[in-house]
């Protein structure tokens, strides 16, 4: 149990998927201009992470991993070369299904999250988590905690950055540094702050 908590804290703070592994930068930079967009996208990512990681984990276990096809009588088959395609297909499909389900059952939630869902299919953070899970050979609970934690960590960084950028609107920044340049530097400072969590041990 303690190990899972440890892993969760690690994936949210210390090895924040955005600040330590640089995953999901594109949508992070594009959607951190306004608070509402940022928190909407943040929730959507957490949601999709929680839903897709178990599916990807299962797909890896029963289809792609070396020797995973033993249940079908093919213990020697190694389909790991198909895993990239499989993961991205699972993510795209899950995002579509989630979109349809939300649209059907909660139009209000759809109105606030719906526009972000297609964006998420190509968010590298989600594919990154799937690949990390298969590379590090996490067990099911570990995979789930890691996925949810990474989603939460990503959303946290996104919302914090949106807050900073809103304040930044009042400051006088040199022309060429505006936008991408200053955002990068701020992200750097944030990453520096998050590194302090590395000293925590449970």
């Amino acid at each position: 149990m303690l190990e899972l908590i440890n892993l969760g804290i690690k994936s949210v703070f210390v090895e924040n998927i955005l600040l330590a592994y640089f995953l999901g930068m594109c949508s992070f930079l594009a959607c951190s201009k306004k608070m509402e967009t940022a928190s909407g996208l943040g929730w959507a990512v957490i949601f999709v992470m929680v839903v897709t990681t178990p599916v990807n984990w299962a797909a890896n276990q029963v289809l792609f991993k070396k020797g995973a096809l033993a249940w079908a009588g093919l213990p020697d088959a190694d389909l790991s070369f198909l895993s990239f395609m499989g993961f991205i297909a699972v993510i795209a499909t899950m995002v579509q299904i989630v979109e349809m389900v939300i649209d059907r059952f909660s139009p209000r939630l759809y109105a606030s999250l719906g526009i972000f869902l297609p964006l998420i299919a190509v968010n590298c953070a989600i594919l990154g988590v799937a690949l990390f899970i298969s590379e590090r050979e996490y067990s099911f609970p570990e995979a789930w905690v890691f996925g949810a934690g990474s989603g939460a960590g990503w959303a946290l960084a996104l919302v914090a950055m949106a807050a900073m950028r809103q304040k930044l609107g009042y400051s006088d920044i040199p022309g060429p540094l505006r936008g991408l340049g200053i955002t990068m530097m701020l992200t750097g400072l944030m990453a520096l702050g998050f590194m302090c969590f590395a000293g925590i041990r449970l």
Partner: protein, 240 residues
């Protein structure tokens, strides 16, 4: 016949053709490169063992997988010991089952004489499981070399354990106190050994990595745990 691009049938057909074509292409590439990839994976493990035992004639840095395998076959004998430190005859490390009380041992010989014994070590660092090999000289008292090849520690801090400067610190350190006739845990200190440890005991301690105290503590614990496991065997080779 005019093709209706937006008809359901065409869409399904197109998707099917693309998927099948891509899968076949990928399967062909993967199959074609399979033997090379497997060779790479096998030699990677052996390369790490060879690195830990610190070969007298080190491998050239650009040596290919075949050379690594060749040198490994020539110099290293694979054996398995039980919890009492006795050799299990005819057993190879690959045949060890999970949960079995059997431990792999790699024996490095140079012109027939044993130079070092190497064994795998693994355990928790700060964030991740660290994997490596530790090699002990034929006297059973001195570290010949160590390598850590897989871990998930903080890049730039804990991850320094995979660097040569850190691993080189272990060479020549003692795991046996000849005066007290007892084993000593090999410890990675905080900071430099020179500044922190009294002169007589410096050979039992290793320089730490600044900013990575927890990882270093993990390394000490891992090494000690496995040294305890292999102690019954090491006892048999010590001569006084």
């Amino acid at each position: 016949m005019p093709i209706k691009k937006e008809s359901h049938l065409y869409t399904f057909g197109f998707a099917l053709v693309i998927c099948v074509a891509c899968s076949f292409f990928l399967a062909a590439v993967s199959e074609g490169l399979k033997s090379r990839k497997e060779l790479n994976m096998v030699q990677d493990v052996k390369k790490n063992i060879l690195k830990a035992v610190a070969l007298k004639n080190p491998l050239p840095s650009r040596s290919g997988p075949r050379e690594v395998l060749h040198v490994f076959q020539e110099k290293i004998e694979e054996a398995v010991i039980d919890a009492q430190g006795r050799f299990i005859a005819g057993k190879k490390p690959d045949a060890i089952q999970e949960g079995e009380e059997a431990y792999p041992l790699y024996i490095y010989r140079e012109q027939g004489a044993v130079v070092a014994y190497a064994f795998p070590v693994d355990g928790k660092g700060l964030w991740s499981t660290i994997y490596g090999y530790l090699a002990i000289e034929a006297d059973g008292q001195t570290v010949r070399g160590v390598t850590f090849y897989k871990h998930g520690e903080t890049p730039g801090l804990g991850a320094e354990i995979e660097k040569d400067w850190f691993q080189d610190n272990f060479k020549g350190k003692k795991i046996w106190d000849a005066a007290a006739r007892d084993r000593v845990p090999l410890t990675v200190v905080k900071g430099r050994v020179k500044d922190n440890i009294p002169a007589g005991r410096q050979s039992f301690y290793v320089d730490g990595i600044s900013g990575a105290t927890m990882t270093c503590q993990g390394v000490s614990e891992i090494l000690d745990r496995w040294l305890k496991v292999y102690e019954p065997f090491l006892k048999t080779i010590r001569k006084f």
